[in-house]
Symmetry: C2
Subunit: 344 residues, 2 copies
C-alpha cells in the first residue's frame, strides 16, 4: 500500500503528455498552456516561451479528441466518393486536399463503391466525428442522407454534377449540356449513325443521365442512336476494345461512338487501329473526361474535358465559405471543353 498513484498505465513507459503535465512542468495553469498551444490572445511573451519550452521538453502533442469534444467542432472534413480506382476522383480529391490543407483541415476519406446504402453508412460513421463539413460526389442520395445532414446542420457541398438538386450547394458540370454538345457536334460533322458505349452498368447515375440526354438530343437533330453497349464491369481500355467490337458486330454501319469515359475510348481507338479500321475516316470516336494520355496518342482522342482538379478546388473553397455562412446556396457550373483532337 505504499505506492498510490500513476501505477495505472503499464509499468514505466510514460503515457502521452497532457496539458496538465506541461502546466506542472512550467508552473502555470492548464488553461494557460491551452492558450499558448492555440495561439489564443492575451498571453505574455514570457509565459508563452516558458510553456513552449516545457511542451517541447515533454514532446507534448495536443489531444484533438478532447479539444474537439469540448468545442463541439473539429478540423475534419468528410469526403465521400464512390470510388478511387478510376482517374476522375483522385484528381478531384487532389484539388480538394490542396485547399483543405491550406486551411488546416483534414480530409477523412469515405468510399461508397457506388452503393447508396453504403453511402449512408459511411456518412453516419463520419458524422460521428463531428466533422466541420461534408463533401460528397453527386446529388442523388438516399433520403437518410439529407436527414442526417439536416440534423447535424453542417455545411455540405456536392460535386461532379450540376444537373441535380443539391442539398445545399453543388459544384461541377452539366452532364446534360455535355451530352447535347456532343450530339450537336456529331450532327454538325455529318455523322449519321451514332453509337454509345458505357461501363459498369452505368454507375454512377450521372452517366445514365448523360446518355439519356445524348439519345434525346440525337433524336432531335435527326440522327437517332443506332445502338449502345453498356459493359457490366468497370471501365478499362480492354473493356473498351471488347465493347466496341461487340457493338460493331451488331451494328457494323455505326460511324461514330460516344464513350462514357476515356479509358474505354482509348481502348477502342487502339483496337480499331490494330484491326485496320481508320479513325476517324471510317468511324469517329469521342470520349469523356479528357485524361492526359489521350493528348499524346498518335491519333489524339477527342473528348469532353472536365475540370476535375478545379472542381475539387472550388468544392473545397465553397465549403470553407459555407463554414462562415451556412445558409448560402450556390450552384457552380464550371463548364467543360470539347477537345476535338483527331478522332472525330
Amino acid at each position: 500500500m505504499t505506492k498510490d498513484r500513476a501505477s495505472l498505465s503499464s509499468i514505466d513507459r510514460p503515457r502521452r503528455a497532457t496539458l496538465r503535465d506541461v502546466a506542472r512542468l512550467s508552473g502555470v495553469s492548464e488553461i494557460s498552456v491551452s492558450r499558448v498551444m492555440r495561439d489564443a490572445p492575451s498571453v505574455s511573451e514570457r509565459l508563452r516561451s516558458r510553456v513552449l519550452a516545457a511542451a517541447n521538453e515533454l514532446g507534448y502533442t495536443p489531444n484533438r479528441l478532447a479539444g474537439a469534444l469540448k468545442t463541439a467542432s473539429s478540423n475534419l472534413v468528410a469526403v465521400i466518393v464512390p470510388s478511387i480506382g478510376n482517374g476522375v476522383f483522385p484528381e478531384v480529391l487532389n484539388g480538394i486536399e490542396s485547399v483543405l490543407a491550406e486551411a488546416g483541415l483534414q480530409p477523412v476519406l469515405g468510399i461508397t463503391q457506388y452503393d447508396k446504402a453504403r453511402e449512408v453508412q459511411v456518412l453516419r460513421d463520419m458524422l460521428a466525428w463531428s466533422p466541420m463539413g461534408v463533401i460528397m460526389a453527386g446529388t442523388d442520395h438516399e433520403p437518410a442522407v439529407r436527414r442526417m445532414i439536416d440534423q447535424h446542420d453542417i455545411p455540405v457541398v456536392e460535386f461532379m454534377d450540376v444537373d441535380g438538386d443539391p442539398m445545399q450547394s453543388s459544384v461541377g458540370i452539366s452532364n446534360i449540356k455535355a451530352a447535347i454538345a456532343v450530339a450537336d457536334l456529331l450532327a454538325e460533322r455529318g455523322y449519321k449513325r451514332p453509337g454509345y458505349i458505357g461501363a459498369w452498368s452505368e454507375r454512377p447515375d450521372r452517366s445514365r443521365v448523360r446518355r439519356e440526354a445524348f439519345e434525346r438530343r440525337l433524336q432531335e437533330v435527326g440522327i437517332p442512336l443506332v445502338d449502345k453497349e453498356i459493359a457490366l464491369v468497370p471501365a478499362s481500355a480492354e473493356i473498351g476494345a471488347q465493347t466496341t467490337e461487340r457493338l460493331l458486330q451488331r451494328a457494323p454501319d455505326i460511324d461514330a461512338i460516344f464513350f462514357a469515359n476515356d479509358d474505354q475510348a482509348l481502348g477502342a481507338l487502339f483496337h480499331l487501329q490494330r484491326t485496320g479500321r481508320r479513325v476517324p475516316e471510317e468511324i469517329g470516336l469521342i470520349g469523356f473526361n479528357g485524361i492526359e494520355i489521350g493528348c499524346a496518342t498518335p491519333t489524339i482522342l477527342a473528348s469532353v474535358v472536365t475540370p476535375r482538379f478545379q472542381m475539387g478546388v472550388e468544392t473545397a473553397k465553397l465549403l470553407l465559405a459555407k463554414a462562415d455562412n451556412l445558409s448560402s446556396r450556390t450552384v457552380m457550373d464550371l463548364g467543360f471543353e470539347i477537345r476535338l483532337g483527331e478522332s472525330i
Copy 2:
C-alpha cells in the same frame, strides 16, 4: 428569471441527441444505452429493443469524439502519401481502403507533396486524433517521424519499398531488384546503348535508388548507361515525349530506354511512332508500374508491373495484425513481374 436551462444553444433547434437523451426517453441509465450502442455483452433483449427504439426516435448518433477520448483509442487510421495525382497511390489507397472499411476503420488522408518537412507536420496533425495506426509511403523520413511514432507507440506500416529500413514493418517491392532485372533484360536482349528517363527531379527518393541500382548493374553487365534525362516536373505523357526527344538529341545512338514510370514511357512510345521511329527495332522502351492502358496500345508497352492494389491490401492487413501484436516486425516483399509486351 423564469427559464433556466437549455437556452444556451440557438433558440429552439434541438442540439444533437446524446446518450443522456436516449437514456431519459427510454428510462434506463446512460451506461446501458452505451452498452446497447456498442453491442456490449450483458444486455437483455428487452432493454436493447427499448433503447434502440428511443435512439431511433431521437435519431441518436454516438459521438465518437467522446468515446475515443474516454477509451484513448479510435477507429481512425492515418494514411500518408506523397501525392494523389499520379496513378500509383490511388491504386494503393484503394487496396488500403477496401481492407480498412471491412474492419470498420476510417482512413484519414494526408498528402505530403513529396515534402519531408510537410510529412512531419501532417503526421503530427494526425497523431493529435489518436489514430489506431499509421500507414505511410516509403521508409525514408525525418528523424522526428520516428520519434513521434515511438512516443505514441502505435502500429505503423510503411509501403512501396522494401529496400529501406522500416520503423516497424514494410510492404512493397524491391526497387533495386527491379532495376537489376531490367538491366539484365536489356543485356540479355542484346541492347548495347541504354538510356534512362525520369521525372520530377527524382521525387520520391526511391526512384533515384532504382536508377542508381540500374546504372550499377548496367556497368556490371558491360553495357554502361549512355545518358539520362530527368525532367524537373511531374511525369506525364507529354513530358515523356519531350524528355525522350531531348535525350535522343544528345545521344542519338541510344538503343533502349528505361523509364521511371509508364506515363512517360507511353508518351515516348507514341512520340517515337509519330515521328517514324520503329519500336522496338530501332529503340526499345520499358516503363515502370504497368498501368492498364499500356496493355492496350497498338504496341504493347513493356513494363515492370507492380502489385499496387495488393500492396494496399497487404499493408492494411498487416496494420490490423500489428494492432493485436504491436511488437511484430515484418518486411513483406510482394515482388514484381516484368511484362515484356512488344516495346522491347
